[in-house]
Amino acid sequence: MKTALTAAMLAALTLPAGATELRFASTTDPNTLDPNAGNSAPVFSLLGNVYEGLVRRGRDMSVEPALATAWAPIGDGEGWRFTLREGVTFHGGEAFTAEDVIFSYERASSEESDTSSWFASVDRMEADGDFAVNVYTNGPNPIFVDGIANWMMMDSGWAAANGAERPNIEQGNYATLNANGTGPYRITERQPGLKTTLEAFDGWWGEDRGNVTTATFTPVQNSATAVAALLSGELDLIEPVPVQDAARVETAEGVDVIRGIEARVIMLGFPHDKDTLLTGGGVNPFQDARVRQAVGHAINVPAILQTVMRGSAAPATQLVSDAMRGYTSGLERPAYDPDMARTLLAEAGYPDGFAFSLKCPNDRYLNDEAVCTAINAMLAQVGLSPAFETMPVANYWPTLREDDHDMYLLGWSPGTFDAEHPIRFLASTPNAEKKLGSWNFGGYSNARIDELLPMIQSEIDDTKRQAMLDEVATLLAEEAAYVPLYVQPLVWGVRDGVEVVQRPDNFLQIRWVEMAE
């Protein structure tokens, strides 16, 4: 990681070398090139090379200037003023101005857009001349800037000329298959599901760019196939390498592995708001905090990490990883202690355990099925009787949404890289109108947390904000609202001579890739 960083930094100082091609593969093809028609990591990872936002994230995930050179709060929490970069051109040749920012705001926050939630706190946005934009928020919003790193600037003229003023998720439009950003790479060929070719954009304003002149992206769903292609020299970079193959790739000649920790925390959820479990029985034992704590003690996370995850992942103590802003230090995860688990169950009145349903996806997270199979065994070992079921994610989410679950596995990666994000989606009492708790399938509800959330969202003072985040994290841990298990690892495979930077959001920035001749 460190060498990759230095190499890339050195590369930034040297002049671009001759033509080099990067052939990379990942499991999922972005479903669109429209930055407002898809809100998922594959889309933003690829488009992050093509489009740019007002701000972007650096190698260490910190927010840094991109198309805005500076920003400052307006008044006392009224909003933010962005000063725009001058002399930036789109791939199509048009200049980037405040008008494009306003257009991009209207587009990204429109009803048809999948990214409108980023602008929930925005009242209006106004251009101030060609190179300044004022964003007025409904109330103080200290983390607004953190939430817009994936808000990509589009050319208003280009969109209008091609009839793509609004995203169209269901029908598609010109922007689905074509892109016109300001970024370091432009898309020269797009065959959805098969191949996407990018070429270095000569007119890019920035300098921090490696020597890749052409990049070809191929989606390869089966990770083992991708590993085979990497080993046989058909690919230069693959993501992910299955954790079990990492050692093999590491020792194989001509290829190497780059490891990191992703932003995604894997956890177990409980049915808090149900009167009775799917398995019947008339009561819901999971409403007793001791039962949930017992589950925490029953699961041998170190053993899961050691065997199933091959030592690649790190244990999680809360809903976010320590790389996120607002992480609460000092929390400890429940120790593996089956006796303690049995004692807690007995105290709660279930010395002989009880039956419940345990559901897991089998194609969503790294080794999700194997992790759940292990969890199933561990729960059985403290006397519980899980009815264990795995299914593809296409069925999994509808099942959770229809409340057809008791205990379930969930992974969460905060889009804002801030601890507030999972509180909003996972810990708030579900409320469709206020757009809160939309992934809180178990219906967990805590009045104090509901009260703290708006205060966290508008607190400008970092210390006070952190104190409130710590309070929430401690409450969640004490009540065992969820049982956080581990932070999902990032394992990339590269051919020797390919230097890359691996960010916890799992985005590949081609401009940070340096390839040996």
């Binding site: 083992a224 590993v227 085979a228 080993l231 299955p242 079990q244 193959d245 050692a247 093999r248 799917l278 398995t279 041998n300 053993a303 899961i304 050691q306 065997t307 199933v308 039956a355 349903s357 089998n362 194609d363 099925e369 194997a370 759940c372 199979t373 292990a374 199933n376 065994a377 561990m378 729960l379 059985a380 070992q381 009815a387 264990f388 079921e389 795995t390 299914m391 593809p392 069925n395 099942t399």
Partner: protein, 323 residues
């Protein structure tokens, strides 16, 4: 041919039991003779028998019960065959899988599930296909048209989609505590449903030819009912191809179960079939834990190969015109 007592009919052909048929005579003499003369068939039969016995008596021959989650120790995971585990010091004859399950025991229990799914799926397909084929071929008319066009519809659907459909419906209908067992029955139904068509087609074809023969016309003349003619006269005469198809289908069904498992709709990971074991094992092909894939794959190969060889021999042996 008609003077043999009914009771001596072969159990493998229950419908022929009512009236001794040509098939019975063959079974009695030619088939047994041919079996004795074919070393390949004898070896295949022996291997099949051994595997079936191992599956039936799995709880007795296995060292652990891999389906009992409370007996597993995850730290035993990935123990190579015959070596002691680095953490727990335990050793396993064929090693352990990713969950710390003894591969030898898992194979025995997996064999049980694979064989059960295979046999039941083929039985289901055979009964359905033979009945529909007989009716289609003998009755003809609209009945035939409908049956054969339904068969066309069936052929159109990849078995994976059939499996997913049945899984989806079953998930909505069956209470959660029965779903573990449900998965097996869903597999049986899905594989059986995608397999009945070939039985129906072959039986229909054969029936079309048979029903114009004199013996059928004779039976019609003396006023026997259609059901009786179909089951007692035509069926025994079209059974040889059915038997051959059934044998080969058994191998195919076992493999189909493995394929469905590869596509993510197979037996649950807590009750792995041979196919599930192979699907899990192939994740470890590159990482060096070869035994997790190798031993289950060899078992599947041994099972499918010997069943196929038996089917092969049966095909030759039951074809009376060949010798």
């Amino acid at each position: 041919m008609t003077d043999l007592p009914d009771t001596k009919a072969t159990p493998a052909v229950p419908t022929a039991a009512a009236r001794p048929s040509r098939l019975w005579t063959m079974w009695d003499s030619d088939l047994a003779y041919s079996f004795r003369r074919s070393p390949v068939a004898m070896v295949a039969a022996l291997v099949t028998l051994l595997l079936v016995l191992a599956a039936v008596f799995a709880p007795l021959v296995a060292t652990t019960n891999p389906f009992d989650p409370s007996s597993l120790n995850l730290m035993n995971g990935f123990t190579p065959p015959g070596e002691a585990n680095a953490f727990t010091g335990e050793a396993f004859w064929l090693g352990t899988d990713d969950q710390g399950r003894d591969v030898y025991s898992t194979i025995l229990y997996g064999l049980r599930i694979s064989l059960f799914v295979g046999v039941m799926a083929v039985l289901f397909a055979m009964i359905l296909g033979v009945l529909l084929g007989l009716i289609a071929g003998y009755v003809g008319g609209w009945t035939e048209t409908i049956i054969m066009r339904v068969a066309d519809v069936q052929l159109t659907f990849p078995s994976i989609l059939v499996a997913m459909l049945i899984f989806g419906i079953a998930r909505g209908v069956i209470p959660i505590e029965y779903r573990d067992q449900m998965a097996i029955w869903v597999l049986i139904l899905a594989i059986g449903l995608s397999d009945w068509v070939q039985f129906a087609r072959v039986v229909r074809g054969a029936t079309l030819v048979e029903r114009n023969k004199e013996y059928v016309q004779a039976a019609q003349l003396i006023g026997r009912s259609s059901t009786a003619i179909m089951l007692r006269h035509i069926l025994p005469n079209v059974l040889s191809p059915v038997l051959v198809i059934a044998t080969i289908s058994l191998a195919l069904a076992i493999i189909a179960e493995a394929t469905l498992s590869f596509l993510g709709v197979g037996a649950p990971p807590t009750q792995p079939s041979l196919g599930t074991l192979i699907r899990i094992g192939q994740d470890f092909l590159f990482s060096g834990e070869w035994w997790i894939l190798f031993f289950p794959a060899c078992t599947l190969l041994a099972l499918a190969l010997s069943v196929n060889l038996l089917g092969d021999w049966l095909r030759d042996a039951l074809n009376p015109k060949l010798d």
